[in-house]
């Protein structure tokens, strides 16, 4: 296994119009908090709040495309949201290997998304299997 506990991976993701519109079109969650800027502002947010599950797509990219191996599968995934994020935000992503389960060929990461102001947007864990 080409991984060690404590190994850290850093990358960043841009919440572009394309990401936002693709998520809207794919899943059709057009809740006004996500689509009406005036409404979102009236509730105390800076702008339209992006769908939290967009981060799931970024996690999918990280596991499926950014790791140095291709033969991977997500076995579980947990996420805790701390702050909203907005259109055109850049989110810095950091993942650390916290546990390698050699008995079952699985790897656990803890991860965090932060905005460019260093505010934690979301964090959690992912367990992947090397297949």
């Amino acid at each position: 296994m080409d991984f060690v506990e404590g190994q850290i991976f850093n990358t960043s993701f841009n919440v572009t119009e394309n990401v936002y519109n693709s998520f809207l079109n794919a899943f059709n969650d057009r809740n006004i908090l996500h689509t009406d800027m005036d409404y979102a502002k009236s509730k105390g947010f800076k702008s339209k709040v992006m769908h939290g599950n967009i981060l799931g797509g970024f996690l999918s990219y990280f596991i499926g495309q950014a790791l140095p191996v291709e033969n991977v599968i997500i076995q579980n995934q947990y996420i805790k949201y701390s702050k909203p994020f907005y259109l055109n935000d850049t989110l810095n992503f950091r993942a650390e290997i916290t546990h390698i389960f050699e008995s079952i060929n699985s790897i656990e990461f803890k991860y965090v998304f932060k905005n460019t102001e260093e505010q934690k947007i979301a964090s959690g864990t992912i367990l992947i299997g090397i297949i």
Partner: protein, 82 residues
Amino acid sequence: MDINNILEEINSIFRRELDEDDIEIKYETVAKDVDGWDSLSQIHLVVSIEKHFKIRFTASEIQKFKNVGEMCEVILAKVNNA
């Protein structure tokens, strides 16, 4: 800690991971005896067991277990040697 303590804690882990409060895991229990104990749930069971007891199994240990009891014996040995 003895084998019964281990088995008791294993029961709690199985109930939580398989989301089934009525599961009764015994020494001689094998995967086919338990609804929902499939290859994916086994991964989650192993993760929970290793974390709970702060132990690590090897791949060959996992492959050799003939029933839950044999796994509990290995857990007990690892816990007592820690």
